[in-house]
């Protein structure tokens, strides 16, 4: 056996160019005669636009053009929403506001000038006459009687009411010994990708082709949508996602600016660049989370959970972006988590508010589900006087119950939840820690141990479950020299698929890692694909690569048999980059020789096409369901409310591991973002709808010094959904860690009788809770 790459800790092939500053992001793209766009955005959360006077701006030095909503309304279609829920109210969403503005940051006009400074200066010269209206910021208020209405045409701020039931919830509550209920908030967050959004567009009139470089997670889906918005033939539109500096779901979208900049390039006949400022990124790139839940659990004294009832309000913001209404439905689907809870009722009310839209943010609906449920498990343990471990263990399904059907209608593919939790307890030394906790309490020190056991829905997903299809595509192209080019329809932007896919190829074809090049993100080069989100790129996209490789291997084997003069293809083996006859291994050819022969095409078997490449579209039969157990150990300073980490242990099961470094990297990043939500982050709007946390000086994302040492470990339960057994791990950290940390802090506060606090658990909040106790 030669080298094997799959499963090995191969350093990322992407990293060299990233670390040495040699990758090309949107703002690095410079085209001849390029001009710059800057956008005037609403300073009011809710106002009528009485007049937008752009004359002064048009006269300003260096200004080439200024457009308002009225100027482009005919030319550019509305910003699309892909989710379809029953009776969903869909507000008109023009790329530039028309009669009204609905949130601070809504685009009103665009200036194009010779450089970005002049463009920005001219923005200040546009005179907008606003008639301010009362804003509604709090989603609970928004759906209450008498609230200001965000979109008057609906007469209500309720965009949808979505329900999901399984089992017999009434009976569960009748049979319960105890009902535990809790109201909780999963606060609105700002994704803060390191690279803000940006678009460059160039129109080639000769070919009638528009090229759009944009920082996106979904170049192909975006191309289809932009074609519609701009009235262009899809094959005259090329979307390129160059290096993308983080998305976390916030670039899984179709934004007004993407169509607008494309339009400007066509209209002005010059390439146009727009780069979002950090301030704009805070105001006008989608936010995440933003749910309020009232959860009730029907439980038996022994901790068995009979049923769960959720009443959730989703803060939608003012408009639907691409998947805004769909995100909370994922919360509903995952509402029973890793537990065998046969009775469920979920009601989700989507509320319009005068704020930026919420949409996917790493985890997208599943962190909310896990948070609700894991907080409930601890509340239940507290009410019943049981150890939180005991409550969880009691409710896990057994490994032999998989595929496990849930009350929400899913079938979990595979799992062993007891094992993951046991492993985490072992690593952290659970029993000893509980003893230490008791001892420290005697000394007035407050240690907290927080557990989160989770399951997530990943590898999105079977096509019927997704608005635009849930498959993924790959082309494996063997070049005449035996180098291998992979074209993936996934659009990785930091997840490391260039490495993971190369590992798969290297193993399957017996080539070196360096012989493989993975290309993505350019719709003119790569066959149609879906993109990177929902922890799907490896599980679905990687499987597509694997499928294409099987086709390539089959053809190459066929050809090798022919060249080796063997009529029986079954007698040809392929190992370590060589084809040989099973009964006569001396008769052999290298993979390179076969590849070259395929292209020279001097001696092909009858009916075989020249060339050596294959494309495969993989349609998964189900989602995958990664799971695991995280344990956080913290100490709370009772004098200041400060939280210090003692330990953090993560045991994740993401199915088969292609590269442990990639998995660790994903888990680390996810946990850090969770830590942000648990302890630091919150998008705060004031009553008038101004974003108070509109800068990095006010919105606290975690810094390196906030992050504890992360002890990661794994169990490996392969998924039966794809031949590689992969489940996906892109979001596990953000799904698992938030409740682990919050549970740890609340466990520390248990002696003070504090049952729940809403995130972020800032020191002052903790200090007040202790003082109030």
């Amino acid at each position: 056996m030669g080298k094997k790459f799959v499963g090995e800790p191969i350093p990322r092939v992407e990293d060299h160019r990233l670390i040495t500053g040699r990758s090309q992001y949107v703002d690095d793209i410079v085209r001849p005669r390029m001009v710059y766009a800057a956008i005037l955005r609403s300073i009011y959360a809710h106002a009528r636009l009485k007049a937008v006077n752009v004359e002064k701006a048009r006269q300003a030095p260096g200004v080439i053009a200024v457009f308002t909503g009225a100027d482009v309304r005919e030319a550019i279609g509305p910003v699309p929403v892909a989710s379809r829920l029953p009776d969903l109210k869909i507000p008109k969403h023009p790329v530039l506001a028309l009669e009204k503005v609905h949130y601070v940051g809504e685009p009103i006009a665009v200036v194009v000038a010779g450089d970005r400074y002049l463009a920005r200066d001219a923005v200040d010269m546009i005179e907008v006459e606003y008639e301010p209206l009362e804003a509604v910021v709090d989603p609970e208020r928004a759906i209450a009687e008498g609230a200001p209405i965000v979109h008057e045409e609906f007469g209500t701020n309720v965009a949808f009411v979505w329900r999901l039931s399984g089992g017999d919830i009434e009976r569960a509550f009748r049979e319960a010994d105890v009902v535990v209920s809790q109201r909780m908030v999963n606060q609105r967050l700002i994704p803060v990708a390191m690279e803000p959004r940006g678009v460059v567009a160039e129109y080639l009139p000769g070919e009638g082709q528009l090229t759009v470089w944009t920082s996106t997670q979904i170049p192909h889906l975006l191309r289809t949508q932009l074609a519609t918005m701009l009235g262009l033939a899809e094959n005259r539109l090329r979307v390129i996602a160059p290096e993308v500096g983080g998305g976390f779901g916030s670039k899984l979208n179709v934004y007004a600016e993407e169509a607008l900049v494309g339009y400007l390039a066509m209209r002005l006949g010059r390439p146009v660049k727009w780069i979002e400022t950090r301030r704009e990124n805070f105001l006008s790139t989608t936010h995440g989370r933003g749910q309020i839940a009232e959860v009730e659990a029907a439980v038996k004294r022994d901790g068995t959970v009979l049923g769960l009832r959720y009443k959730i309000i989703q803060d939608l913001g003012a408009y639907h972006q691409l998947l805004t209404p769909a995100i909370p439905t994922l919360t509903g689907l995952m509402a029973t988590g890793p537990y065998k809870i046969p009775n469920l009722h979920v009601q989700i009310v989507g509320a319009f508010t005068n704020k930026m839209a919420t949409d996917a943010y790493r985890g997208a609906g599943r962190p909310e589900a896990t948070y609700w449920l894991e907080r409930m498990m601890d509340r239940i343990a507290g009410e019943l006087g049981l150890d939180p471990v005991q409550v969880r263990m009691r409710n896990f399904p057994q490994p032999e119950e998989f595929p496990f059907p849930t009350a929400s209608g899913l079938a979990y593919d595979s799992g062993n939840y007891h094992q993951a939790l046991r492993r985490a307890m072992e690593l952290v030394g659970y029993e000893k820690l509980r003893q230490e906790q008791q001892q420290l309490r005697q000394q007035g020190r407050y240690l907290g141990i927080g557990i989160s056991t989770y399951v997530e829905i990943c590898a999105l997903g079977p096509s019927p479950a997704l608005p635009a299809g849930g498959w993924e595509s790959a082309t494996v192209r063997v070049e005449p020299t035996g180098k291998v080019t992979v074209l993936t329809g996934a659009s990785p932007h930091g997840q490391g698929q260039e490495t993971a896919f190369a590992q798969i190829v290297a193993d399957e074809l017996g080539v070196e890692l360096a012989d493989v090049r993975v290309i993505h993100g350019d719709t003119a080069i790569v066959q149609y694909g879906i993109g990177t989100f929902g922890s799907r790129a490896t599980a679905v996209g990687g499987t597509a690569v694997y499928g294409a490789l099987q086709k390539v291997k089959e053809k190459a084997t066929h050809l090798a048999a022919h060249l080796l003069g063997e009529e029986n293809v079954a007698n040809v083996a392929f190992e370590d980059g060589h084809f040989f006859l099973k009964d006569n291994p001396e008769r052999r050819m290298t993979f390179h020789e076969v590849a070259l022969a395929a292209y020279l095409a001097k001696n092909l078997p009858p009916g075989v096409e020249p060339g050596l490449e294959a494309t495969y579209f993989f349609e998964p039969s189900n989602f995958t369901f990664p799971f695991g157990a995280h344990i956080a150990v913290v100490e709370v300073d009772p004098e200041t409310g400060d939280v210090q980490f003692r330990r953090y242990v993560a045991v994740d099961d993401c199915g088969r591991v292609l590269n442990p470094l990639l998995v660790d990297g994903q888990v680390h990043g996810g946990i850090v973002q969770s830590l942000g939500q648990a302890l630091l982050e919150e998008a705060v709007y004031d009553e008038s709808g101004q974003l108070v946390t509109g800068e990095l000086t006010e919105y606290a994302i975690p810094k390196a010094t906030d992050v504890p040492w992360l002890e990661t470990d794994r169990t490996e339960t392969p998924s039966p959904v794809n031949p590689l057994g992969i489940k996906g791990v892109g979001e596990a950290g953000t799904i698992a860690a938030t409740p682990a940390i919050v549970n740890a802090v609340l466990d520390a506060l248990a002696p003070f009788g504090v049952q729940h606090l809403d995130m972020p658990l800032r020191p002052e909040k903790i200090w007040r809770a202790i003082r109030g106790a």
Partner: protein, 287 residues
């Protein structure tokens, strides 16, 4: 994130800089490390027509001994204060304070003069400068003067510097005998600035009695201040736990604490008291 247009000057020496400042007065801004000014310009909260970059004025970057004092040039970067062997030996409080400012990039660029002249209510240096009883030398085309630290900070973002004046030097006393110092800080989690920063200089006699003490507190009020009530409650007393605790309880006496998204006035005052106590204890340990 995109500033308005300005004209840029890079004088090679102090007199050129002073002449430019004299010429453009209020329409000019001095640029030191740029780590306060440039963010304001990017947000268009500052829109100077002329920017006078002190980066070329090499004569303002130094750390020198002068008898029982240490002299630090206004253009001395935080990193040079942080890592100066001389300061670590003879004025560890200042080096320790510099070490707590921002992150490495900020410390590589920011200057002591810029930080003091900017007078951010949450900046770190002011607490130490007050506790050390520093003196600041300002120069204009008309001459120079010394300003006591306590007179220097006037209000939020406002100092005693007059138009046309450049802060050129900071003079701090060297560490005295049987003296301990400490700087403790609770960072505002987003910006990294001080939600509460307490600097203590504490001299004790061999019996553990406080002979002299100075406490500077930043982050709590519109400007950094000397906690006189704390100092009085310590001076002449044996520093046992209850004396320190009682004194620290006066950390915000006469002060109206700030209130914002990151901390209420009540919590800020609480932090000031707790961290004042912890800083005094730490200073006592370091004697």
């Amino acid at each position: 994130m995109i500033p308005t247009a300005f004209e840029y000057f890079r004088p090679a020496n102090l007199s050129e800089a002073l002449a430019l400042l004299e010429q453009y007065k209020d329409e000019a801004k001095l640029l030191a490390g740029g780590h306060s000014l440039i963010p304001l310009m990017k947000l268009r909260l500052a829109q100077p027509q002329y920017v006078i970059d002190l980066g070329g004025v090499k004569e303002l970057s130094y750390i020198r001994e002068s008898g029982e004092h240490l002299l630090i040039g206004a253009m001395t970067r935080h990193v040079d204060v942080e890592t100066s062997e001389m300061l670590r030996q003879r004025c560890p409080l200042l080096a320790e304070t510099a070490h707590r400012i921002g992150d490495v990039q900020v410390r590589n660029m920011g200057t002591i003069g810029g930080s003091l002249a900017h007078a951010d209510p949450a900046a770190d240096y002011p607490a130490a400068i007050l506790a050390l009883g520093a003196e600041l030398r300002a120069v204009s085309t008309k001459g120079e003067r010394w300003i006591r630290a306590e007179d220097f900070f006037v209000d939020m973002l406002t100092t005693a510097l007059q138009p046309g004046e450049i802060l050129v030097e900071v003079k701090v006393p060297a560490l005295g005998p049987r003296t301990g110092t400490a700087y403790v800080k609770v960072a505002q989690k987003a910006s990294g600035f001080a939600l509460c920063g307490v600097a203590v200089v504490l001299a004790v006699d061999p019996n553990g009695v406080c002979q002299d003490v100075a406490v500077g507190i930043t982050g709590i009020a519109p400007k950094a201040y000397r906690a006189r009530a704390v100092e009085e409650a310590l001076r002449g007393r044996a520093l046992d736990a209850s004396v320190i605790a009682n004194a620290s309880a006066k950390a915000t006496e006469g002060i109206d604490p700030l209130e914002d998204l990151h901390a209420s006035a009540e919590y800020r005052a609480h932090l000031a008291r707790v961290w004042c106590r912890r800083a005094i204890e730490q200073a006592r340990e370091s004697v």
